[in-house]
């Protein structure tokens, strides 16, 4: 019995860190929730010129939609190549390595690159397009990794069955493997969006402005975004925290609901795919 008491002590020691993690999370949540009362929600639909944040919310959504439209297809197709086509292990290995490294590049460096390459070299200027491209670079590795995982989880027998019936390779993949992997692929895309939704450093130099009138009229105009606004107001303008609480909270809610939906989607679909239960 003394062995079991010792074990309990060890588990308590191991468990305390987990409790600390949970505490940190609830602490952050409670901090943000305490400010909820002081936020005036009608500001959501009021223009920034009247002190609202309508353009920032829509601007953030613009940035995310555009980046997804670029990184989504490229990422998914890349994942399909890596899982289903990639011929030599050496090449796959190099691409794999590149994706891992791309995922590890600090966002500030991506921002620097975006500024010199998209804004200056490609002459896009500080614009929505430059922001899309920069954010797409950040989303890409997440989408590729997630989609790859989803595709790998689909048993090869699905595809082989279609091949045996005389389907071409692409036809076989697109009619069997892809539908089965679709939930995982969509999850990875949402995760990618969530990852860049609150991104500041990458769009700091490439696509955001503090104030302008209305929404961008063309993809070559700059945009207002929640994260940038929060950052500049606190760091450069020294605005007291209470005044930007609303922005912080809206940003938090957008990002958290995105990633929460991705997590729930994943849990839901793992339960719904019987071949994933076999280990």
């Amino acid at each position: 019995m003394s062995g079991q008491t010792g074990e309990r002590v060890i588990f308590a020691i191991l468990g305390v860190p987990m409790l600390i993690c949970m505490l940190i999370f609830s602490w952050i949540l409670s901090l943000l929730l305490t400010g909820i009362g002081s936020v005036r929600w009608e500001l959501l639909t009021v223009s920034a010129l009247q002190g609202g944040m309508f353009e920032m919310i829509v601007g953030t959504i613009y940035l995310l939609l555009g980046a997804t439209a670029i990184a989504g297809p490229v990422g998914i197709l890349a994942a399909i190549y890596l899982v289903e086509y990639a011929p030599s292990r050496g090449l796959t290995r190099i691409i794999d390595q590149a994706i891992n490294n791309l995922a590890g590049v600090p966002s500030i460096v991506i921002g620097l690159f975006g500024y010199t390459f998209f804004c200056r070299h490609l002459r896009l200027g500080v614009s929505l397009t430059a922001g899309w491209l920069t954010l797409a670079l950040m989303m890409l590795p997440i989408i590729i990794r997630g989609s790859e995982e989803a595709l790998r989880m689909v048993p090869a027998s699905f595809k082989e069955a279609a091949l045996a019936l005389g389907a071409t390779r692409w036809k076989a993949i697109s009619s069997t493997t892809l539908p089965a992997a679709a939930p995982g692929v969509v999850t990875s895309v949402i995760l990618g969006i969530a990852r860049v939704a609150g991104e500041t450093a990458a769009i700091l130099f490439t696509s955001c402005v503090l104030i302008t009138r209305g929404l961008p009229r063309s993809p070559l105009e700059p945009v207002m975004a929640l994260s940038y606004n929060l950052f500049v107001k606190i760091v450069a303008l020294g605005t007291p925290a209470q005044k930007v609480f609303g922005v912080a909270l809206v940003l938090f809610m957008i990002v958290t609901s995105l990633s929460l939906s991705a997590i729930l989607l994943r849990i839901h679909y793992r339960k719904g795919q019987p071949w994933l239960m076999i280990r």
């Binding site: 074990e7 011929p87 590049v105 600090p106």
Partner: protein, 307 residues
């Protein structure tokens, strides 16, 4: 692989791609990452070349960073980065690894998914929100605990960073723990091993390389973190006195880039020095990621390696 056979396989690949348009498109998408990575390195280093040429090692080892007098010595900045990151890792590595073990091996099944999800959510909170929380809640707390005038210190930055890299460490080491083959665990269980004995004798030896990789990845994430650090580190470009004084402000590399990029006139020495710092950062994270990658690959996948 020698060059000739590499070229041969490359040629074969191209022949295949030519005959199959679908495959060609897919290949193009897949190789996109390599192209981007190369471009990134090329352009960041190119913009930094002026500083490398004019300042040389001074950019890394110079003691003073003073824009007004055109002095760009990155040492205090690099030191600040390393200080903040090591502080963060000292806090988050034990926390993260214990948590991942606890979740995978001890926590009741029903609780695993919710707990993992919550930790994953921590990862997705934007860094500007972390900065906001750090600046508005944590810094005053630190100030009052240690009776400082300002809570913007290396310690505050380390704490915030620790929270930010925790999910990375928990996630990656959790993955390697769940990759421990069930066979081994069952064999040990059948011998009457207790849960703790299984953790110590089976799980830990098996997943230690994965855990090391998670620490490396955590390091990579932490050293690249910008906005949150900038908002809480105090941003004073000096090595604290004494050098281990965590209650002094520091000015990490990423914060300098984010703060001064706007100031710098394009093409000036300052501009180039910032890109120089950027390429140093790029190289550091590249090396760390590659090491982590190698560790992961060498890790638990191969059966029959002496543990």
């Amino acid at each position: 692989m020698n060059l000739e056979s590499f070229l041969k396989s490359l040629h074969k690949l191209f022949m295949r791609l030519k005959s199959q348009p679908v495959e060609f498109i897919l290949f193009f998408c897949a190789s996109f990452s390599i192209v981007i990575l190369l471009l990134m390195f090329l352009f960041v280093v190119k913009e930094g070349s002026l500083a490398f040429v004019r300042l040389g090692v001074q950019l890394i080892f110079g003691q003073r960073w003073e824009t007004n007098s055109d002095l760009y010595g990155g040492f205090p900045l690099v030191y600040g980065s390393l200080m903040v990151v090591s502080g963060a890792l000292v806090i988050s590595v034990p926390l993260g690894i214990c948590t991942s073990i606890f979740i995978a091996e001890v926590l009741p099944f029903q609780l695993r998914d919710p707990v993992k999800s919550i930790i994953e959510l921590l990862a997705s909170i934007p860094s500007v929100i972390y900065g906001f929380i750090g600046a508005t809640f944590l810094a005053p707390l630190i100030a009052s605990i240690f009776e400082l005038h300002s809570g913007a210190t290396a310690l505050t930055a380390s704490l915030i960073l620790a929270i930010m890299v925790l999910p990375t460490i928990v996630g990656v080491s959790g993955e390697t723990i769940s990759a421990v083959p069930r066979d081994y665990k069952e064999a040990a269980l059948a011998l009457g091993a207790s849960k703790w004995q299984i953790i110590r004798n089976v799980v830990l030896p098996f997943s230690k390389s994965g855990m090391l990789a998670s620490v490396m990845l955590g390091f990579g994430r932490a050293i690249g973190e910008t906005v949150a650090v900038l908002m809480v580190a105090g941003n004073v470009a000096m090595v604290p006195t004494p050098p281990w004084n965590y209650l002094a402000p520091v000015y990490p590399v990423t914060a300098v880039i984010a703060m001064q990029m706007g100031e710098a006139a394009v093409g000036s020495l300052e501009y180039s020095a910032l890109f120089g710092l950027g390429s140093i950062l790029f190289i550091i994270t590249f090396v760390v990621n590659t090491i982590a990658d190698v560790i992961v690959r060498r890790g638990p996948v191969t059966r029959g390696v002496q543990l």
